[in-house]
């Protein structure tokens, strides 16, 4: 009885050796990681795969929504009354400031006309609630309840009542992901209110920020307020960001400037997404040297 010509039973037919397949898969993963983390090439693949994950995500967030709405519903009357009184007081305060602001805006417009300067940037804003922390434990990100359908775009600034908390980094149809300023991979161009010194503010983790690329002899003191400079063409200029807490000039050519965010970055709930209504025109191309 010969076994020639018989296929081996399927238990022995396992394709390429497991170790070889492991290497293929690991290599594929490493390519994906480099393409995503280093070059950001994979947003297309991410969007394609989110067709599969999106319904699951929506279904999974339902219980969390129910719990949140239930706690809101069963919040006691006393709490609501206290909060209401607080809000009325704030409203009165803000109303008075707004009145002055309108007058100043008119005055500013008038002066700019006199000086024949271009108008200040027009802004648009969208109110949003922070739903929850993003599940990725390695980054400081939060999820907002507004998305492309409400006009949120990637790159817009997100502020709470006191200052900037972060930047929209990814937008879904009805949700968007905000990277907080304290994330290690987030940076924001700022300038000092007192004297207009410019720099870039980086997150360093532990809820702190650091201003880099500022020479040691530049005049910056603890207590200085930092606002967005708007030089990136993305953020609206003049949004409050942080205060300087410590300046260390001993190290080398650059000062080491530690800052504390003004906004309650990891605690705020209601936020405003702020962006330019129109992006500034691109800089004119350099004129060819020969034509004169």
């Amino acid at each position: 009885m010969s076994l020639v010509g018989h296929q081996p039973p399927p238990i022995f037919r396992r394709g390429p050796a497991p170790l070889a397949r492991l290497f293929v898969f690991v290599a594929l993963c490493l390519v994906l990681l480099v393409a995503d983390l280093r070059f950001r090439y994979l947003e297309v693949l991410r969007n394609a795969l989110s067709v599969v994950t999106y319904p699951l995500q929506m279904a999974a967030s339902t219980p969390a929504d129910v719990v949140r709405n239930a706690t809101r519903y069963f919040g006691t009357l006393v709490d609501v009354q206290l909060e209401n009184a607080d809000l009325r007081r704030l409203q009165l305060d803000a109303g008075e400031r707004l009145l002055r602001f309108e007058q100043l805006e008119q005055e500013n417009l008038h002066l700019r006309e006199l000086l024949q300067m271009s108008e200040r940037v027009q802004t648009k804003s969208i109110a949003a609630d922070i739903l929850y922390n993003a599940p990725d434990p390695f980054a400081r990100k939060v999820i907002l309840d507004r998305g492309t359908q409400q006009g949120v775009e990637a790159g817009l600034a997100v502020v709470d009542a006191n200052g900037v908390i972060g930047q929209v980094t990814r937008v879904h149809p009805v949700q968007s992901e905000v990277t907080l300023l304290t994330d290690r991979n987030q940076s924001i161009p700022v300038s000092v209110v007192r004297n207009g010194v410019r720099g870039v503010l980086y997150g360093v983790g532990r809820g702190m920020l650091e201003m880099r690329h500022v020479l040691a002899e530049v005049d910056i003191q603890p207590g200085d307020r930092l606002v967005t400079s708007g030089l990136d063409g993305i953020f609206v200029p003049g949004l409050p960001v942080a205060t300087v807490t410590r300046v260390d000039r001993d190290q080398d050519a650059f000062a080491r400037i530690e800052c504390e965010p003004l906004a309650a970055i990891e605690r705020s709930v209601q936020v405003l997404v702020i962006g330019r209504a129109a992006y500034p025109p691109p800089p004119p191309p350099p004129e060819p040297a020969g034509e004169r």
Partner: protein, 173 residues
């Protein structure tokens, strides 16, 4: 009684659609927004490890890669981060399959715990190399939570295979 290679319990053959259904349910559980509560199990890793140990011929690195990518997309992590960890997890779980099934459930959990920890360590390493912040040691509690769930989960996932076609009290199925 928990079915191991030592016990005389015979199971129905596994249905492949049930394996994938359980993986998708695990994926759904993973997407429930829970903030940063430490110690919550990584459901997909756990269910994947279970099927890789139980059915090494049916489930392996390919499923690990596919569900890893779905995790990366859903959680907003780096593309390939979970995929890499799950591919290694699936390979090691497949390799352990012949040994692990001789032990009772709690010892199986002890076998799987180092694999889950290794998968998490791979993810930490990848993200630290990419410049992220260390999430703290409580991050690794998740593997302990998963290992504690090994026994109840294996009962639950083998439940369809416990049902005999016709009940016979003299047969060990």
């Amino acid at each position: 009684m928990h079915p191991t290679n030592r016990s005389s319990r015979i199971l129905q053959p596994v249905k492949l659609w049930f394996v994938y259904l359980s993986l998708f349910v695990a994926l759904g559980l993973e997407y429930i927004p829970t903030g940063r509560t430490p110690g919550l199990p990584d459901w997909v890793a756990l269910v994947l490890a279970f099927w890789c140990v139980r059915e090494p011929l049916a489930i392996g690195m390919g499923a690990g890669f596919a569900f890893g990518l779905l995790m990366d997309v859903g959680l907003g992590a780096a593309m390939g981060q979970h995929a890499l960890a799950y591919v290694v997890l699936a390979y090691l779980a497949n390799a352990l399959a012949r040994r692990v099934l001789w032990f009772p459930a709690w010892q199986q959990a002890l076998h799987v715990l180092p694999l889950l920890l290794l998968a998490q360590a791979i993810m930490v390493l990848v993200r630290l190399l990419a410049g992220a912040e260390f999430p703290g040691w409580s991050y690794f509690l998740s593997s302990l939570g998963s290992a504690l769930l090994w026994a109840p989960l294996s009962f639950l996932l083998l439940l369809p295979q416990y049902q005999p076609d016709e009940r016979d009290d003299n047969r060990p199925i």
